[in-house]
Amino acid sequence: MGEATPLWAPIALLGALCALGLAAAVLDAVLSGLPTASHPGDAVESPLRSGPLSAAGDPFREAARLLVQQRRRTSLADTLLVRVGVCGLLVVAVLAGVVLPLGDRPVADLAAGVVWFNAMEVGAWGALWLTGWGANSVYPLVGGYRFLAQGMAYELPHMFALITAALGAGSLRVGDVVAAQRGLWFAVWMPVAFAVYLVSALAMAFWGPMRGPVGPDIAGGVRAELSGPDRLLFQAGRHLLLAVVAAAAVPLFLGGGAGPLLPPWLWTSLKTAAVLALLVWSGRGLPTVRMDRFMWLSWLVLIPAALAQLLVVAVVVG
């Protein structure tokens, strides 16, 4: 399918995704350290006082901790399914990234690239459900339920947002969508679709206000029973997924690698980092959206809005 891609492309993709995922983790840690550190001259001075900079090391220490941690097994857990789920999350995140252009061309330039992205990202449903189910424990199961409910709510608006971008370009190929934005970014003339995409991006990476499936109120939800390397893989998968959905916003709505002076790959990275930072910030700055309310929002606001946007674009393009 398509002409041969250079060998370095998949490696570059993996490297870029890992770097972005790690950046998301570090930024999140720093943000969570901020409010405590914002008061200089605290009365109690301790050698262990933490500032935002020392918090930046947290993800690395956490990874080290999980690497050497014992694996815990719950009684009657379906360990096979948990493993499939945990690894699946990582795999779908990377696969979804395959159609995204790094600079000017993606690893696999599929004719139905937008559909590919969507299909892979739906794979996260399966991954999360398996992880939540397999542990044979209440909170992960509830987390799994929540993600399915979330999926039902975000998937349709998400599809409409993707279709809007594809319709604007008249093609399902990601490269064509980028090319169609030479004049004007889609984010500018289809702002509703872009906003809907951002909301659904948070929902599919269960991040920020959409973190219900791994929410603190159900003891960490899907990941409540994960420990050791399993937990590390799950966390890595979640961060990669976030990185991928942030990266996809760039070719779909922000003109891809287009920009003055700098080379395309640098523009792509800059734009991706900006979207990623926005998504990560929402994790500290917004409360969690409850599923019944999000369902309502999705069906009564997001879907009609996305459809109206689709109609507008269809009229303009047609």
Binding site: S32, D58, Q70, S75, V138, A224, G285
Partner: protein, 453 residues
């Protein structure tokens, strides 16, 4: 030394603590939380995610059993810190420093892990599927399994813990396992077998774990029910509270409140008012400080449960400054900014709307005075007022504590209102309702405690 030893030591500098608080240990909890925040250690949500278990205060029987279960659920490397006795900041600092040292002690951590792996293999063996089920098993291992569950007296009377534990996770289940009225009170080994007497298919209850029973639900389908205790070991949860729930899906069908008590009598939040009632001299300023901190604690907990981490940290930060650092300059202004942001968050108010108002279906809003959103508003108002009275030197002569008149022990009323408010809510809403009431279990008389001890 190998790579894993290096990793262990590297990771030890940033443990993930899980804090368990017994009633009457609020002061210790606050000291511990302040110190953890100062060190930037992010709390764990579940035992599996933790490597440091911090127990504040002295748990009584039921709670200490729950702590034991949670401790066995924490994967190695792990360490336990028990804070009790004289609540001084130095005590907490030294104890946490010690925890870091123990976590970095590669040799003893390895011994711990090896010992536990062995013990687990002996105890939990891989669950053998078996399809004959008539109450008698030749297999000794299964007898052992049954015995283990039996000793715990069935789910309903279990000494409540986070619900993260295997015994509570029997989902699924099917309709034909006899008429299951009896699960609620079955005491042990025998009762579980009786329930399964009549079913006609070749399905055992795997590993001796009883299957879920069924009951009517709000959609008119009789689906599986789970008995899940919420608490007492749960993050951002009132210390010592256990809500025994019957869940269908994630909807609470029934709720019963129990208290897993702690030793001691201290009522930290009420202390200034109690002292004034005893005739000691307490200034209004001192009481206002305690009251403001108490409400900020409640606000922080509610925001944390609502998932707004940034704002929750801010509230707790203000609380710690009031209580421990006592440098008040700038606090009222900072609080005013914080309160404005919380009040303005339409997302938060949309999530809280209609919660905790009895008699109204969730989702339908009413500008009532008793819902979670209204309580949050009131907490913010009261905190603002109290912050203006920090310097009031006149003697305290009322008994209007942070949760109402301290002599009436208002939290007891909150606890009795809780089951009615929780029935019919989803878990997410239920957590917000509990955090919105935020009962202080230090106020609860020992007579109410641990009927299931």
């Amino acid at each position: 030394m190998g790579l894993s030893a290096w990793l262990t030591r590297y990771a030890a500098a940033r443990p993930r603590p899980l804090v368990v608080t017994a009633p009457h240990a609020t002061r210790l909890r606050l000291l511990a939380e302040a110190e953890l925040a100062r060190r930037g250690w992010r709390g764990a949500r579940s035992p599996a995610g933790a490597d440091l278990l911090v127990v504040c205060g002295t748990p009584a029987a039921a709670l200490s059993r729950a702590v034991e279960v949670v401790w066995t659920d924490v994967p190695a490397p792990r360490t336990l810190v028990e804070l009790r006795g004289d609540p001084r900041p130095e005590l907490v600092t030294t104890a946490l420093d010690g925890a870091v040292d123990r976590l970095a002690d590669v040799r003893s951590q390895r011994l711990d892990a090896a010992g536990r792996a062995g013990a687990r293999d002996g105890r939990h063996g891989p669950a053998q599927p078996y399809d004959e089920h008539d109450g008698e098993h030749d297999d000794g291992e299964h007898h052992a399994e049954h015995g283990r569950h039996g000793e715990q007296g069935g789910q309903e009377h279990h000494g409540g813990h986070g619900g993260q534990h295997d015994q509570h996770s029997e989902h699924g289940g099917h309709g034909r396992h006899g008429e299951q009225g009896g699960q609620e009170h079955h005491g042990g080994h025998g009762g579980q077998h009786d329930r399964h007497g009549g079913h006609g298919h070749h399905m055992g209850n795997p590993g001796g774990v009883p299957m879920a029973e069924r009951g009517r639900d709000r959609d008119g389908l009789t689906l599986d029910r789970l008995h899940v205790p919420l608490g007492p070991v749960l993050s951002d949860w009132p210390a010592g509270l256990v809500v025994e729930t019957v869940l269908q899906g994630d909807v609470i069908q029934q709720a019963r409140v129990e208290v897993a008590g702690g030793l001691g009598t201290e009522r930290f939040w009420d202390a200034p008012w109690l002292a004034a009632l005893e005739g000691r001299r307490v200034t209004r300023g001192e009481a206002a400080r305690r009251g403001a901190a108490s409400r900020l604690d409640s606000v922080g907990r509610l925001l944390a449960v609502a998932g707004w981490g940034g704002a929750a940290t801010e509230a707790r930060r203000l609380r710690d400054r009031l209580l421990w650092e006592r440098r008040d300059e700038g606090v009222p202004e900072e609080f005013a900014g914080f309160a404005r942001r919380v009040r303005r968050s339409w997302l938060l108010h949309w999530m809280l709307r209609g919660l905790g108002t009895p008699g109204l279906s969730p989702g339908r809003s009413r500008p009532g005075r008793d819902g979670v959103a209204a309580r949050l508003d009131a907490w913010l108002d009261e905190t603002g007022r109290a912050l203006n009275a920090l310097d009031d030197g006149s003697p305290l002569d009322d008994d209007a504590g942070p949760r109402g008149p301290v002599g009436d022990r208002p939290s007891e009323a909150l606890l009795s209102a809780l089951p009615g408010l929780l029935t019919g809510t989803e878990l997410a809403a239920a957590r917000l309702v509990v955090a919105g009431l935020d009962p202080d279990l230090d106020q609860v008389r020992p007579a109410r405690e641990a009927s299931h001890a």
